[in-house]
Symmetry: none
Subunit: 194 residues, 4 copies
């Protein structure tokens, strides 16, 4: 029984991952339920067996991705290292994610007012939760004297905005390795904090 449920859960995750692929590649509106089903080697009908409708599907995509991202940054927060190192790691982690999972990441940046009010609040909450983890690092850094910033919220926004923009220009085929990019970004962004 438990095994069965685990399998089901795994399957749903796999489906969400594939769906996110298509959706973020084509965009929410251009990706049809047929497209998504095809990617899953299913028919549309089967898709609707698992998800009530298109919005529900994309909503669950969002949720899954955000939850995973939150977990990872939380793990960094729990490390026993300096605040500077935490921020560095968080920045690098974020950038790796933005590059490695470009499609899914991209999806998060374009909620496109697709969601019904009920869903949107959940998503926004989770987004805020994620962002607040960066706030925590900043706050911790201020407390122990590592960082010297007054407008913490805005600094957080600057950092997140700078990182998210990578989407728009980075190409894995380019000359820069993702490791280099991440390192350089971390270096420059830390200049703002210190």
């Amino acid at each position: 029984m438990n095994l069965k449920m685990k399998k089901q859960l795994q399957k749903k995750k796999d489906m969400l991952r594939s769906a996110a692929m298509v959706i973020s590649k084509k965009g929410y509106h251009r990706a049809t339920m047929d497209d998504i089903a095809a990617e899953l080697l299913m028919t549309k009908g089967a898709l609707y067996y698992y998800f009530a409708n298109k919005e529900e599907l994309i909503f669950q995509c969002h949720e899954m991705i955000l939850s995973e991202a939150i977990e990872e940054i939380e793990a960094i927060l729990a490390l026993e290292v300096t605040s500077i190192e935490k921020m560095e790691k968080a920045i690098i982690r974020h950038i790796y994610f933005a590059i490695d999972e470009k499609e899914m990441f991209n999806m998060l940046l374009q909620p496109e007012s697709t969601f019904a009010d009920q869903h949107i609040s959940v998503i926004l909450e989770k987004r805020e939760k994620y962002s607040s983890l960066f706030d925590e690092i900043i706050a911790e850094g201020k407390r122990n004297g590592s960082f010297r910033v007054k407008e913490a919220k805005m600094v957080r926004m600057i950092i997140l905005g700078a990182m998210n923009w990578i989407q728009q220009w980075y190409s894995s085929k380019g000359e820069q390795s993702k490791e280099d990019v991440a390192k350089i970004y971390a270096e420059y962004l830390l200049k703002i904090l210190i």
Copy 2:
């Protein structure tokens, strides 16, 4: 004759502006030609007299807005002030634009792979042109010793990314005035350059 053409041009600009409003408010896909026509107090049919199709319409929106933005930054570049001041002014100008014309600005950030190849290259070229103006300021600053950065391209991306993200969180109803936001952003972002 010349007057007539001017009038026509002005009319078209007005149309583009209104259209951009609707499109960026609703998003490209949710904004129907009917919506746009209604905003222009026209019928759909009339709209098609001026623009061959929806893509052409949005393409011209993009072009107009970008051209105007480029002009403004070019004007700053031509000023006889220090590089630091130029960058400061450019940042503030950009942020004002992002806040004051949120809808149009937003449209620029979501090309959404709407464009056919033919159009997209024109847009990308113009975008690049705009971005390169920031490069020029940075280069100038490096030449005259004001700025000390190695990875100029990446720094430019950090700055642009940070600024564009304002879209996502700034609300005119919030406590922060746009003047404050622009000033603070300029201050922090200049820290990266110096």
Copy 3:
């Protein structure tokens, strides 16, 4: 201008009439928008130019038919004849309608819980309005001593029920002419009132 609007109104009426034909022949659920459009020698798209959706379409059918029926019985009520004659004429009129416009009439009898609350109240009101015209005749007859009934409401229901059932068995190909049927029904039903 006025002529144009009249034409449009007439066209809409024609459309409603044809639509009612299909719908009542096939039933609301079996009649597809394609079917209806085909009957109108149109495409589905054109249909949606005139009616927001299927429910709106059928709602307007109902309304039109009921309105016309109400007018006719009201005309009978206004005649200067005895109550008995009025009831006789109303019965005959109703039965003619049930037989001549079998399809539309049939549609009225099967609201099939198709309507949204907003619409259903309008329809029920109009139905009640129609039925109340029979009440008025009965009341008038009681006042002037022609009729001798205690439970007026129930008698009205008996009369309407009996007449509406004709739908279920009368066939124009059968031996009975509609004139005969109407006359006999009137005769028997008046026995209840007198």
Copy 4:
């Protein structure tokens, strides 16, 4: 074995009864096989074990209900009472049924051209059989001088139609008890016969 079959039969009857409930409440088209299965605390798959398809299911519903109704009226016919009393009892029985089992009764009134030809003839035959029982009472009454009607068929139709219409207006929450309604109806309808 015999016991087993009896149990099975009973089970099927229970299923039909529950199914009829859902179908007549929602209407044939709005009631999905899922709905029906849920009411039976089963899954769709199981339902298909018992019934070949949806039409078969509703067909058996019809048949069961009609058979039961026929039996009851036949019992009345066999009583040793006057024709007037028989008709009175039949009317009352019919009305009780219409009120007590509103949903199932309602289903019978809306065959909705759901049935394939093969089925429909069986149903129509059974309906006719039921109706003919009223004919028999009338005929018997005519023979023994209780009733004085020429157009027996039409009178039967008037009586049935009047009774079936009760569906449309009677509410158990209303002021009238079903006993009152049945009595009054019987009284008025007998006026037609005598």
